[in-house]
């Protein structure tokens, strides 16, 4: 393997990790507020088709990204209304959101499976992009990659260095106390869930507009579920989410290169790798029961009603 191939693999790893970064960082905020939304896969895929449709109809790729975010938020709104206002079981509602999203996206995308799109192009930064090696490694991406990487420090700042983030985390740890202090638990949880929806939607739109600019039924292929697993794997810490996303990007890319190396393994077994890796890291991180119990937001998955608590 020569240096060029290594660079290519690294670059591909970064882009493969980007949809996971969006979806997993979004879900991280949701879970920090004490809400478990298992509908990430559904929000992602509806974001993917909505973004693709709007981009194909309007010719504006950026409008597509916005549409993806909007569609993800609408999906999240359904979830929020049922679990936060009507206090339904979050696990069941999240599952319903995913089933609904997969059906809805297949329905919406019926006419778009043979449409070709140009796709979001990588940004050419004068001088920097032309640098040898570094230019390709660091400055050869499309704008959404930089957006994902910018999202990370912003989120760290919000969660750990702003008042809003403190309130959000407090609600996730003890909604009753936060409520007693006068914070509106339900309103803030709504905001968190909607943010998570927008991020999952952008992650989906990244897939259909930049990563592989086309629409195919079920194209998210479990990435929403992997994003959920990443949040657990990261023990609810943004830095580890980022690391985990690139790790999975690497596993996804590895399957294409192993065959290139002349190893004779059926492609189906290589495609299993991301899913098997997800199971492996989940086992690693949860084998000590305390790791999860100490790190998970204390109220995760529980409904809140001010007159019951």
């Amino acid at each position: 393997m020569n240096a060029d191939t290594v660079i290519l693999i690294l670059v591909a790893t970064i882009t493969a990790g980007v949809p996971l970064i969006f979806a997993a960082l979004g879900e991280l905020v949701v879970e920090k507020s004490g809400v478990l939304n298992l509908g990430v896969e559904g929000m992602m895929i509806v974001g993917a088709i909505s973004g693709f449709m709007v981009a194909a109809e309007s010719g504006q790729l950026w409008l597509g990204v916005l549409a993806g975010a909007g569609a993800g938020m609408l999906m999240a709104l359904i979830f929020a209304f049922i679990t936060l206002t009507l206090m339904a079981n979050q696990v069941a509602t999240g599952l319903a959101l995913t089933i609904f999203g997969i059906g809805l996206s297949a329905y919406m995308g019926q006419a778009y499976s043979s449409v070709a799109l140009e796709g979001i192009k990588s940004l050419h930064i004068p001088l920097l992009s032309d640098l040898p090696v570094l230019g390709q490694l660091l400055f050869s991406y499309d704008p959404l990659v930089y957006l994902a990487l910018l999202l990370f420090p912003l989120l760290v700042w919000f969660l750990y260095h702003s008042r809003g983030g403190l309130v959000l985390r407090a609600i996730g740890e003890s909604p009753t106390s936060a409520h007693a202090l006068g914070y509106s638990v339900i309103r803030i949880r709504y905001q968190a869930v909607l943010f998570g929806g927008a991020m999952a939607g952008i992650g989906g739109a990244y897939l259909s507009l930049a990563y592989t600019p086309l629409w195919a039924e079920g194209m998210t292929a479990g990435r929403g579920w992997i994003a959920l697993a990443l949040v657990v794997f990261a023990t609810w810490r943004p830095g580890r989410v980022l690391l985990g996303a690139f790790l999975f990007g690497g596993v996804t890319i590895a399957q294409f290169h192993v065959q290139g190396l002349g190893v004779d393994i059926p492609s189906q077994f290589l495609s299993m790798l991301p899913y098997l890796a997800t199971i492996a890291v989940l086992v690693l991180i949860s084998r000590n029961a305390k790791t999860i119990r100490l790190n998970a937001p204390a109220s995760l998955g529980q409904a809140f009603h001010r007159e019951v608590h």
């Binding site: 009507l86 206090m87 089933i99 029961a289």
Partner: protein, 356 residues
Amino acid sequence: MLFKLQPRPQPSQRMVWLSPLLAIALMLLVGMVIFTLLGQSPLKAFHAFFIEPINDMYGLGELLIKASPLALIALGLSVGFRANVWNIGAEGQLTIGAIAAGGVALWFYESESIWVLPLMLMAGALGGMLWAAIPALLRTRFHTSEILVSLMLVYVAQLLLSWLVHGPWRDPDGFGFPQSRQFTESALLPVMLEGTRTHAGIWLTLIALVMVFVFMRWSVVAFQMRVAGLAPRAADYAGFNAKRTIWIGLLTGGAAAGIAGMNEIAGPIGQLSMPLSPGYGFAAIIVAFVGRLHPIGILLASLLMALLYLGGESAQMQLALPAAVSGVFQGLLLFFLLATDVLIHFRLTPTWRSKA
């Protein structure tokens, strides 16, 4: 806000059974609105969706063929769901069950032994259980979330099937299509009703129904599992075996899904092919909930969900609507059920009255 939710002192038993009916009514209502928005006559669409598919014997047979795997899987899952064991990977367990049973059928290709079918049934059940045992083992041994593990294994199972039907098990005379040989007579379930495709798998579902009913109604283990679901700490304190709950919960679902997979390939499909099921494993989750995790409720809910599948196909042929519209309806149904369930524990009170 015009209304406010007031906690009920006691959960309403009436609402437990009324809310699924309310959810179905709401789904139909919203369905009408959607069809109108799509420029279809709502009555014509309703007819195409809910009447047309079952207005003859053949249609009723098709309804049973689709309801049978849904009910069977949902019955198995309900045992776990009652104990808060979330097996959502039934689709994968169905696939592995089908692979195991299909392997038996191909091994005994052209055999005329009457033991082929029973052997396939056992292989199917064991295959499904094996696939469900992975999340059970990881949950009990390493505290790993059974939700994520069972779901990830769906993709692994489908890739395994894809490899088999593209590779070693591909029909040598199949023009390269990704499918196995057609099973021979001895590996196919007999047809039960003349003029339909309804196969003997229906009986297996009915037997499962009775078994789950008896288990839930009269066994101590089921009671302990239910307590574990409602109040894990109380169950701990009473010394109920938490690990056993997880194992039973997952294995029952796995066995049911595996048998459903065997029924599909030995019944309507008659070979291993891709895809095996139109998402029965996921739709069965909805069936379990809409049926209130109760065997009789599940039976009724499976008929409704089967009708939604058939309605989708019929709407595709008659109204040129994509069949995916059934998935939308199935999702809506579960949303409405979860939403109306709030009325079990809460009362809707108009705010203008309470203020006066």
